[in-house]
Symmetry: C2
Subunit: 125 residues, 2 copies
């Protein structure tokens, strides 16, 4: 927590309540969460602000972001890892980056959906 707050400050950002609260939620939750989930836990922070904090954290490279059913799931980056997510109830577990499909004990019908983004030659100039 303090590391991240320090990083924010060093990057020239203010240490505001919304930022601290969103970070706090992300730190104490070990499942990937949607912006709505986060907002649910800190209703004193406006939903738009939750999104803005998330955008900031993303820009700083602190977030792992995944998509399911048109909504994004966020969690702080630790070891590079992903999540398996139950399509029905949303229950999720972490998965190492180098998984194989035999690894899933608690899930059936596992499908993968990967997005790699970057900048192509032209755009990176």
């Amino acid at each position: 927590m303090k590391d991240i707050l320090a990083q924010l400050k060093n990057s020239g950002y203010k240490l505001t309540q919304p930022r601290k609260k969103v970070l706090d939620v992300l730190l104490h939750n070990h499942q990937a969460m949607s912006a709505q989930d986060i907002h649910q836990r800190i209703q004193t922070v406006n939903k738009a602000s939750v999104y803005r904090v998330l955008k900031l954290l993303q820009d700083l490279g602190l977030l792992n972001i995944e998509s399911i059913n048109n909504e994004k799931l966020y969690c702080l980056t630790k070891e590079p890892h992903h999540h398996v997510i139950c399509k029905k109830c949303g229950y999720s577990e972490e998965v190492a980056c180098t998984y194989s499909f035999g690894d899933f004990k608690n899930f059936t019908h596992v499908q993968h959906q990967l997005t790699l983004t970057g900048l192509c030659k032209k755009c990176s100039k």
Copy 2:
């Protein structure tokens, strides 16, 4: 094309114009496309119908789906593979399932975003 149409028919679905047209677009395009992209090319097919055809193809397991910036990108499943997508212009290339980060010659700042979905023990009963 004929294989897929046959599969549709065998599964009890009608061979309608919208279905043929969407399939045709997907077959002749080698980049991952959004529903909007597809609709753009066949404006005689209603956008809602494009989505319905895509849903159908997905249910039949014929589609690879990826997410970028709140929109989904679709392509027909061949070998299991993914895409690298330029964050700025959307240019994309196919990537083998077993890529390593050194593989990207035409992209910089590559980030990955993987979603694994499935059914957890409880929900798969």
